[in-house]
Symmetry: C2
Subunit: 233 residues, 2 copies
Amino acid sequence: MRTATSDLTTRARIRDAAVVLFGRDGYAATSVRAVASLADVSPALVVHHFASKEGLRLACDDYVVGEFLGRKDDLSHGDAASAIRRWLADVDTYRPLIDYTARMLTSSGSAGDELFDALLEGTSAMVDEQVASGIMREPSDRSATALYLTLYGLVPLVMHRQLTRALGVEQLSAAGLRRTTVPILELYTHGLYADDRFLVAAHEALARTSGPRSDKGENDPNQDPDPPRGAGS
Amino acid sequence: MRTATSDLTTRARIRDAAVVLFGRDGYAATSVRAVASLADVSPALVVHHFASKEGLRLACDDYVVGEFLGRKDDLSHGDAASAIRRWLADVDTYRPLIDYTARMLTSSGSAGDELFDALLEGTSAMVDEQVASGIMREPSDRSATALYLTLYGLVPLVMHRQLTRALGVEQLSAAGLRRTTVPILELYTHGLYADDRFLVAAHEALARTSGPRSDKGENDPNQDPDPPRGAGS
DNA sequence: CCCAGCACTGAACAAGTGTTTAGACTATTG
DNA sequence: CAATAGTCTAAACACTTGTTCAGTGCTGGG
């Protein structure tokens, strides 16, 4: 079952196998025996190297976060951009890392939290920078804006399945990028709406009261299955 | 361990317990025994009612999708909006459904796919409608735009943990909504960027070649840990 | 009354779980 | 060479898993 990566330390091979299976099937659904067999190794050796299944998970977390944030020595997290570029450059190779990261970000656990915080910090810095240089308009709430930019940026990782299903092709393929780049940039450049009405209505509704008294539908830009606009209640 | 919902069918009580645990801990990490004990019932009764653990999962899927899309009889999926509003109205009550739905959407499985397709269809209809009525500008690619709107709309469900962690409060609380509504509407109203440069660059890059030859950074609006802009390779 | 049908349970099953133990093999070091 | 250390395995451990089975109690219909 071993892949082309047999020139690695046994320990690394086990870790890589675990990343693949944890990422693909989830932690709970993956047995130590399955990891061992994928790494061409006995189950006992897995625990010999990682003490326990949980230890293996921690090692995987550290490894994946390290890969994502650019291997520590590069102290600035700014390099995460290059990691993502590397990853998206050939999805097939990095899919295990992508899947694993997506799982980290959506499930509870300190590793996912740390990763997200690092990404958020990076996005915040970028917002500050782009606002300062005049590329970006000054948002009314920089940190909230940075937060949503980070979240939206992670959508292709976290909702990868639905995205490629709806697109019909891998979003990260040439065809997928050609299809998605412009629409997203349009949103980020001009917005969606033709006028200010929703924004004005929201401002008014929020000014009128400090409570959650705003579900008259005025600041709800659509009657649609999207929770995001957050106008309910 | 039973909650206030003891006036339900035993079968329904078991299903509800399963939704709670599957949603909170995941399917694989939840044992039939745990479900049984939360429902105050013997493990054997669970399989008596649902044939198997997998059968229980299917029943939960059907139930949650039904709740989300508004209980079938209401054939139009348009009612999903009201379901979400109901859910977000008091998070504490509906958190199990929220968590379960988030898991459905991010993991593989036909139920999540069907749900997503229904939501996407609803969003598409809304886009058409709003464009027709002049509320929304005509996007260059309606279906891609609808797709991303749907995905972004689901972020509060799927990335609930990181969102509320970064916000410091429940996003769905009064304080959370006050914090997030305006920034999001700003994005959807004016966009983020002060000018067209990125959009123009992307158009040029895509026109210049049909291949993925565009990672010069020109159409990459930021140097930041966000994969979405999809400029890599 | 009786009995068929139903909801329900305790106990057990085989299979799979994470983990331990004892030991084999190899290489390095004195 | 002998000893030590490290990598690795087969076998077993105690336990949990999903599921089955035999049987109990109850309820409604003849």
